[in-house]
Amino acid sequence: MLQFINVSKRYPGGSEALKNVSFEIQQGEMAFLTGHSGAGKSTLLKLIAVLERSTHGQVMLDSQNIGRIPQRLVPYARRKIGMIFQDHRLLHDHTVFDNVALPLIISGHQQHEIKRRVRAALDKVGLSGKEQRYPITLSGGEQQRIGIARAVVNKPPMILADEPTGNLDPELSAEIMQLFEQFNQVGVTVLIASHDVPLIKQMGYRMLELSQGELVQENG
């Protein structure tokens, strides 16, 4: 599903965020990406979402080198990935429904199809009945669930999450992780960047550890 082959990323100005990183994540796998802040976790996720392009090496998604696709196809590549962010990245002047519907509106689905899929996604993350609320009126954990619903509403084959539990207490964090497990159980490939090592270890999935841009440990 996802394969990094000798990937390096150097930012203009000389700092090398990733050094010769290689790994592979199988379809339907769930894995964690750990490391201290500044270790290169965010850069690695940005390469998958084509927010950045690698300096060397290949980033293969679904056996295609997405680091080299033309700019006009990048939006379509992003639709294959559901992205979740630490700061949720929600539209605060739109309702929960509109936030979750955004990926479907972008790809031009019909209104009744949008309604059906948004309800299903909100139901899965446990936010039924809150469609017409505004994100700001919901708790941090609920806002993160809106973000997750938005990421899965388009049924992407892969979910990327960047510190999804960063601002949450342990109990809520565990609930969010359970949600990811549920999606993984129905066949979605999941990659989660997190520095919450105790929680991850407890879950027992594969761990990729980055340190100063290098992949130092791979276990699971």
């Binding site: 927010l51 006009r72 939006p75 590549a77 992003r78 639709r79 972008i106 790809s107």
Partner: protein, 317 residues
């Protein structure tokens, strides 16, 4: 490898015509809906556009009206020939007949001085004053309509007439009208220049408004890009905003011009009636109105397109 390359491509769904129309309609109305949330800001921009455009539109419609007026005054290229006071009626008649026989003259009409005086007495209201005159101060006048149009032969005809022993003065009625038309042509040229300048101003107004809108919706743009929006999807609402600014600005500009015309029409008509004219001001015609609205809409679309495409190009790089 070829198969792999076709892996990520524009999906059929987002390019089926129905989905495409659906996206457009949604954006079309949602951009209107956004204005309804901040009507004050919207109306301010629309008013600025309308006032800017109403100036050249008003100017052009005024010139049109003056042209209509000058057209109503005299359509004939007449020449008035004033005879010397001592010319007798019979020699005036002979002269008229001889003029009528000229190839360069299509019509010659004699207005004898007694008839002219009677007519003057009838229309001027100076009945009493005229009655006090000992003799008729008016000369015989022959009005001719020349059969020629070019300036040179007209001038030679006038020169020839001026040599005649009975003729005192030859006057081209069209002279002043031509000067007026010349002035109107200059005014029209100036109005076109003003239209171009102020059109450019409208372009800048829309660009700046859209630039501010882009700035305030930066997060929204980032987020929609993250979930896979194409540049054209992101551009669309802003282009529609430009469209609406142009549309409402154009409509309001035409309203302003027509209301102004109606306001000054009644004093103009009463002034014209003093000159025995039934002239009244014309409002903008339907085709004029529509072309001004179209012009304004185009300016709105161009203004927003320039800013948004530059903004997105900067984001993509």
């Amino acid at each position: 490898m070829a198969r792999r390359r076709s892996n990520i491509q524009k999906p059929v769904l987002s390019f089926s015509p129905r989905a495409y129309i659906r996206i457009h309609l949604r954006t079309f109305f949602s951009s209107l809906g956004r204005f309804s949330r901040s009507p004050f800001n919207f109306m301010m921009t629309v008013s600025v556009i309308a006032i800017t455009l109403s100036l050249p539109a008003g100017l052009l419609v005024s010139i049109n009206n003056l042209q209509t007026l000058s057209g109503q005054i005299d359509l004939n290229n007449n020449i008035s020939i004033f005879l010397k006071p001592d010319t007798t009626l019979s020699s005036a008649k002979t002269l008229t007949t001889s003029l009528q026989e000229k190839d360069s003259v299509s019509l010659a009409v004699l207005i004898d001085k007694q008839a002219a005086l009677d007519e003057f007495r009838q229309y001027s209201g100076f009945d009493l004053a005229i009655g006090m005159l000992d003799n008729n101060p008016l000369p015989h006048v022959i009005q001719i309509t020349p059969h020629i149009n070019d300036q040179v032969s007209l001038q030679s005809l006038i020169n020839e007439l001026e040599q005649h022993e009975h003729i005192q003065l030859v006057q081209m009625d069209m002279g002043w009208l031509e000067r007026l038309n010349g002035l109107l042509n200059i005014a029209q040229r100036a109005a076109t220049l003003i239209t171009i300048l102020l059109g450019f101003a409208v372009l800048l107004i829309v660009s700046n408004t859209i630039r501010l809108e882009l700035h305030s919706r930066r997060d929204e743009i980032d987020i929609t890009r993250l979930v896979g929006a194409t540049p054209s999807f992101i551009m669309r609402p802003f282009i529609y905003s430009g469209f609406w600014y142009g549309f409402f600005g154009g409509v309001l500009a035409c309203l302003l011009v027509n209301i102004s015309i109606l306001l000054i029409d009644s004093p103009t008509s009463s002034l014209a009636s003093l000159y025995n004219s039934s002239f009244s001001l014309q409002t903008m015609s339907l085709s004029h109105t529509l072309s001004w609205i179209l012009f304004s809409v185009l300016l709105g679309i161009c203004g927003s397109w320039v800013v948004v495409s530059r903004y997105l190009a900067k984001l993509e790089s």
